[in-house]
């Protein structure tokens, strides 16, 4: 996410927003590919691979950028296109701040839900997650599927970095730190099996909404013993309850 933000932000400030946009997508996808290659060539668990490279990539970014944060006062039209205010929605709500990223979100959710449930690649993703041995036995290229999944994951992190910069005009080395666990939490709350083989993009969207609503809700309700900084505790309870509930639903059908 931070890599995407720096590449896009840096090149945009140098007067090359479009190049920055494309390069940010390519580089983050490539970092995902590296994750995937490490995974399939070593066979260590994917969680460990990404945990390791997450620190590694951030460390490299720190070295390359010397730890300085990027900030701009320019209001490039590209920022507005990517993540400007959605006035036609905002006018209906007082103090609303809907942004274009909502549109990108909905587009990506629909595209990836279709890919997952209605294409050969999606079928192979479920098969590899559910029983990699059976998938291999039926001629599925398990390595390719895994590497592609990691590339997509990297690409999405890159897009989020670009959107973040477009909204706040700033990026730090630590930008997006901790979001990874929220992403996992959103997927689990939305019914994704952490052991693989089941889940949906719709579900992850709903999971992300639940967690975000809890964050805002907890802050707004101003509960004395749950300060705003402590909303993680609520997320923790939500994850466990959601996992229990999902388990119950799954066993029932």
């Amino acid at each position: 996410m931070a890599v995407g933000g720096y590449l896009f932000g840096g090149l945009a400030m140098a007067g090359q927003p479009l190049l920055g946009f494309l390069l940010a997508l390519v580089v983050t996808a490539l970092l995902g590919v590296i994750n995937g290659v490490i995974l399939v060539s070593t066979g260590i668990p994917s969680f460990i691979v990404t945990l390791g490279t997450k620190y590694l990539y951030r460390g490299l970014l720190w070295v390359i950028t010397a730890g300085t944060m990027l900030q701009t006062v320019d209001r490039l039209p590209m920022y507005n296109v990517l993540n400007g205010r959605l006035e036609f929605l905002n006018q209906f709500f007082k103090q609303a701040n809907f942004r274009n990223s909502l549109i990108w979100l909905l587009v990506l959710v629909i595209v990836f839900q279709i890919i997952l449930s209605r294409t050969r690649f999606g079928n192979h993703v479920f098969a590899v997650g559910g029983n990699a041995g059976a998938a291999l036995g039926q001629g599925v290229n398990v390595r390719k599927v895994k590497i592609l999944c990691f590339a997509i994951s990297g690409l999405m992190a890159g897009i989020s970095g670009i959107l973040l910069f477009s909204q706040y005009y700033t990026v730090r080395v630590a930008s997006g730190d901790g979001m990874d666990l929220y992403a996992i939490a959103a997927a689990v709350v939305g019914g994704t099996l952490i052991t693989g083989g089941a889940g949906s993009i719709w579900g992850a969207l709903i999971g992300a909404l639940i967690i975000s609503m809890l964050r805002s809700g907890v802050v707004l309700m101003n509960i004395s013993f749950i300060p705003a900084d402590n909303f993680e505790a609520i997320v923790g309870v939500t994850i466990i309850l959601a996992a229990i509930f999902n388990n119950y639903l799954r066993n029932r059908n």
């Binding site: 479920f126 029983n131 083989g197 059908n253």
Partner: protein, 257 residues
């Protein structure tokens, strides 16, 4: 030792594995094994755990390459380098746990790796309705009834899962069906059902290799029996030559041939 029975095995058989030896480092897993199967034959491959049954089959499936020896398929020498290549020439294996993805539907499992697609504009999408229909019909053709092709495989019984994997092999034109312990975890009634599917496959002129360590599961259905013990071929026998108990003794080594 070879009797004058129905199936003579030679280089002209559908599958013939000649003098197969496999060494893992200094350990000899298989020593000069001859093994074959003919169209319309059910061949039992018997041996105790660790005797080398799986190694032999993995060589046929292209998972391992033999240290020495030659495989003939339809009379021609072949080299099989991967399960994919094995499948392309018509050798299909049904492994016990590695056959199906439990979290996926029957039809998605049936067509896994060979999905049907239809194009909407330039983009190929899965043709789910067609796949479900073909899946249900082709399973029906070999006597397997399913409630719904969109049902998840995980909710089926062990016998039903085996039958779907067998039906898949038959539908996709397999010439050789390799079944690895297909009945070992099944109830008596389910075992009987799975055996009936195997007989159905035989009547369609498929060659079936039935791997098991339990002679009782295979005695009724097999046309011939090959027993291996500690990597060596003990012998090949035809239906009616030996009793169940004789074969069981050969597997354990209580009886020498």
């Amino acid at each position: 030792m070879m009797a004058e029975k129905k199936f003579e095995h030679s280089r002209n058989s559908l599958v013939w594995m000649e003098n197969i030896t496999k060494k893992f480092g200094t350990i000899t897993a298989l020593q000069d094994i001859n093994f074959g199967v003919e169209k319309g034959e059910v061949r039992a491959l018997l041996g105790d755990n660790g005797a080398g049954k799986s190694t032999l089959i993995k060589i046929l499936m292209g998972v391992h390459t033999p240290s020495s020896g030659q495989i003939y398929f339809e009379g021609k020498p072949v080299q099989i380098n991967s399960p994919k290549e094995a499948r392309e020439i018509g050798i299909e294996a049904v492994y016990q746990d590695l056959a199906l993805v439990n979290l996926m539907s029957i039809s998605r499992n049936f067509f896994l790796g060979r999905e049907m697609e239809k194009k909407i504009g330039p983009i190929p999408f899965l043709d789910i309705r067609n796949m479900e229909e073909i899946c249900r019909n082709s399973l029906h053709d070999i006597g397997i009834e399913i409630r719904s092709a969109s049902e998840r495989v995980g909710s089926l019984s062990g016998g039903e899962r085996q039958s779907i994997a067998i039906g898949r092999g038959v539908y996709f034109g397999a010439k050789v069906l390799i079944l690895d312990e297909p009945t070992s975890a099944l109830s008596v009634a389910e075992t009987r059902k799975v055996l009936s599917y195997i007989e159905n496959a035989r009547s369609r002129n498929l060659a079936v290799i039935f791997i098991t360590h339990n002679v009782h599961h295979v005695y009724m259905v097999a046309d011939s029996y090959t027993v291996i013990r500690q990597g060596c071929c003990v012998g090949t026998y035809f239906k009616g030559e030996l009793s169940e108990d004789d074969i069981a003794d050969l597997i354990t080594g209580d009886r020498e041939c």
